[in-house]
Symmetry: C2
Subunit: 271 residues, 2 copies
């Protein structure tokens, strides 16, 4: 008997017809009253990954979080927009009843062994074993699906002076919990797993929500296999919080300082 | 008689019905056999900017370049997906005949005078007057629509040793040419105006194309007015060129070190 990883269980889709799927939210990736945004990103990508028409590997994923997704069933429609020699473009929508709760675009690309160059370098972090696992405290919800080991920028909600504004940057090791061999699905999910920067900077919970998330995938299947289930070196940061909208950036590095994914998002915050 | 700026002329749309528009490519923003990607981004955004149903200001724009756009007429369809209290989501498609040449998502947001914080800082650059205007050489095409003054990372196509791999980073001042008061339209256009990083790094032309572009807007109308037609301080860079796909990042800063836009894109390259 095989026990599927929570990510594979949670993102499982029932095919209703060409490019049409039924799915369900999962307690494994629950957030306040709906799924964690990384789950939504992963399940939208999966509708393309599982499609027999897919050509090439995921290169880019943009998810727009249009409305709150409620716990329960949803439907996904994935449209193949255009397939060329080097790229394939998809438009995807997640609906609950008449509500379009999320839209996404997925670009797949035919990666070829041509000129490559890797000018960027990850920061140096202590070995994961030297850093404690982040204590999620709450036994329920999506945070339990990741093993995080912070070097800097661990969230701290101990009450503090509101004038104590801290850096938006975190450096950490992260992998799935339980451990799972890396693939595009888990990278998509993990690219939204960086705790909202406003929480870190201000040390208080305010109403927030990811509005749009764009993740670029920089590796192929060999890069994923090479990584296996070892933790990724991650950097998350923010550049500006302005009038209710903030940005958030992330880099996810694999073994030998190989950049595997980069991500940017806009987060709405109420106050 | 008023003379409209080339950007306003080039992106002018004829309304055919609700959310349906006819447009044309323009020699002002021509590239090799089709329009410059920044033009496409701007005209797609304009279909939402001009829509009477629009609520709030642009916060995010993702453009997927699905197929080559040929010189001539095109049609744009803009669908209002979801309007909430804080955000409004749009899906847009640009077609030529039966070909979907580009898709886009636009997020608008209701900016409110709440807590704001600006942790990032631009690099220091000499005053624009101290840097020469980049010589575009070719009197035709989109490069003439921008006045660029490079501090570092000016493109150099003088034949050189292929092993001479240079930094992917450019720092420069940029504004529209002729000068034009900044708005969301010009920011969208400018966010794709950074010369392809692979050209800079390798010093040779290889076949390339932007596959997907995401731009975040961090200011409101007051930020735009404050900027006027003065040049923006810009940083463009790349983190990885891997198996035919590279990333490209950009930051566009206004007066007083105010971040006005950030952008990321994936560029396909052939060899």
């Amino acid at each position: 008997m095989t026990h599927k990883h929570p990510l594979d269980q949670a993102t499982a889709l029932e095919r209703l017809g060409p490019g049409t799927y039924a799915g369900r939210t999962s307690e494994f990736y629950s957030n306040f009253g709906g799924p964690f945004g990384g789950f939504t990103a992963a399940v939208l990508l999966r509708s393309v990954l599982d499609d027999p028409r897919r050509q090439g590997l995921p290169v880019a994923l943009t998810v727009n979080y249009c409305a709150a997704i409620t716990e329960g069933a949803f439907e996904i429609k994935a449209r193949e927009i255009r397939t060329g020699r080097s790229t394939q473009h998809w438009s995807v929508e997640l609906t609950q009843g008449d509500t379009v709760a999320a839209t996404a675009s997925v670009v797949c690309g035919a990666r070829r062994a041509v000129w490559s160059h890797h000018p960027s370098e990850p920061p140096e972090l202590p070995h994961p074993d030297k850093l404690p696992v982040f204590d999620v405290t709450n036994p329920k919800g999506w945070l339990n699906r990741f093993e995080m080991r912070f070097e800097t920028g661990e969230p701290d909600f101990t009450p503090r002076d509101p004038a104590d504004i801290r850096p938006a940057r975190s450096t950490l090791w992260m992998r799935d919990n339980p451990a799972r061999p890396l693939d595009f699905l888990s990278l998509a999910c993990m690219s939204d797993a960086f705790i909202i920067r406003a929480f870190l900077v201000r040390g208080v919970f305010v109403p927030v929500g990811t509005v749009t998330l764009t993740t670029f995938f920089h590796g192929n299947e060999a890069s994923m296999s090479a990584q296996g289930s070892d933790p990724l070196l991650c950097v998350a940061d923010a550049q500006i919080f302005s009038d209710g909208f903030a940005d958030q950036t992330a880099q996810l590095w694999g073994k030998d300082g190989r950049l595997l994914a980069t991500s940017t998002q806009i987060v709405w915050y109420k106050e």
